[in-house]
Structure formats: C-alpha cells, structure tokens
Symmetry: C2
Subunit: 119 residues, 2 copies
DNA sequence: TCCTGTGTATTATATGATTAATACATCGTA
DNA sequence: TACGATGTATTAATCATATAATACACAGGA
C-alpha cells in the first residue's frame, strides 16, 4: 500500500479498510490485524494505526471485545451504507470540482468513460 | 468566497481564479485586483495572496508589467489547456476514488446525472 | 517633489494537525 | 504465576501552513 502526502495517513488507512470491506475482501465478523501488526505491515506508527481503528470503531465498521483483535462488523447494513457514502462523496466532490467550469454533462461523461474503462 | 480547511488557502485562491478565467468571468488582458486588494477582499494575509499570484504567474495565467496590477494572459491556448487540466484532474480523482469500490459504470453515471443536473 | 499604491522579497512567529514515544491495563495461556 | 500480545491513554515532538512584520524598488499623479 502506498500513501499520498496530501491526506493524513490515518485517513488513508481508514479508506483502505473501507474499500476492502465494501468489496468483500474482508467479510463480516472476520478478524483484522492488530494495531501493532498493521503498523508493521504498513510501516506506520502504532498510534496512527490506533487512530485509524478508532475511527472505524466509532463508525461501527469494526468492533472490539476485551483485548482480542478487532473484527469486521456483522451488520451488513452498516457496510452497505458505508459503500454508498463513499460513492456519493466521490460524486459530490467530482461535481463540485467540475461544475464551476461549465462543462456539459455529455462532455464530462465522454471523458469519464475513457478513464473508467481504461486498462 | 469561502475556504475549506482541507487545502492551503493559496491553493484555493488559485483555484478560484482558474475557474473565473476558464469560464470567461475574467477575460484575456483584463486587470485583476492587486495583492493587497484581494487580501482585503478575501480576509487573508497579503503574503498568502502574493503566493497565489506567484503560482498563477509561473503557470502563465497572469502577467505583470512593472509595478502595475497584474493582468490575465492573452494566450488563450494557455487558458484552454488549463481548463482541460482541471477537468481531467477531476476525472482522474473521481475514478481513483470510485474504482476500488467496484461500482459499475452505469450505476456511477446514473448517480452522477442526478447530482449534475440538480438545482 | 512627495506621497501613495503597485509588485517583490526576507525573516520570524503562531498555529493546528499529524506523528512519535512512552506508559498503562487487561486477558489468555504456556 | 508470569509472560506476551492485545487494546488504550497520555504526553511530547515534528511539520507544513498560514500569518505577521518589515523592507525594498518602482512608477504615476497630486
């Protein structure tokens, strides 16, 4: 996994997990790496990992019992909503960036199709 | 004009001018506010305004002669390219955000159309 | 001529967010 | 029981950005 330096690392870690969860690479109830383990894997500070996990816990995406490793939520509705939010947020950002330029919808969709299908 | 706190202010100022130029609200050759003037208008520090203007000058979007206020470039090709870059960048960001979620192109375009037409 | 408003440059400080360092608490198990 | 791995909490250090404070050169106009 590679990080950009525009966004805080913990945000990017959260994002990464959300994508994994939304696409089913992590399944409901599945155990995820411990804070220290993921910190080693991603070469980040354990506190950064902790902060990312805390965010996800507050969002209901993972849960923690006692001092055993956290797990993906079993609430598939929460997962579905999260997926929708990611998509909607992306769309809103996109529209906010494009609209002030006065590009036509068709022009935009044309260019989008190229990039989307690519590869 | 309102700022978000995600991006540096000078970047947002540059962005604002680019949009104004791309949509023709500023015409080629037109005079723009002085550094100190825009700083007052936007309630920002003059140095931040200067930094924004410097960026635009280096990008060839504005030019300055002597100590008179800067002006929009007369090179319409530069303006056209800048407009394209904004659109392409927005598309790339969007695709990068959406693709990892495995949403179909049609689903995305459908949602996009709603937001795009809205208002 | 002198004053005001331009652009430009340099240096220092403040601030907020992020990351790092460290310590503490808990639990299962060898 | 004692160790090791877990989650959690607190404090310190770092860093980028924005702001501030000055200073300088230039040109036009009152």
């Amino acid at each position: 996994m590679k990080f950009n330096k525009r966004d805080p690392v913990y945000i990017q870690v959260v994002r990464h997990f959300k994508e994994q969860i939304a696409t089913g690479h992590y399944e409901p109830g599945q155990e995820i790496p411990s804070r220290r383990e993921i910190a080693n894997q991603l070469k980040i500070n354990p506190n950064t990992a902790q902060r990312a996990y805390k965010e996800m816990e507050e969002a209901g995406l993972i849960f923690t019992e006692g001092n055993s490793p956290s797990r993906i939520t079993n609430n598939e509705e929460v997962i579905g909503q999260m997926r929708n939010e990611i998509i909607l947020e992306a769309i809103e950002n996109f529209v906010a960036a494009i609209k002030p330029i006065n590009a036509s919808f068709d022009e935009v969709v044309g260019l989008l199709k190229e990039k989307y299908v690519e590869e």
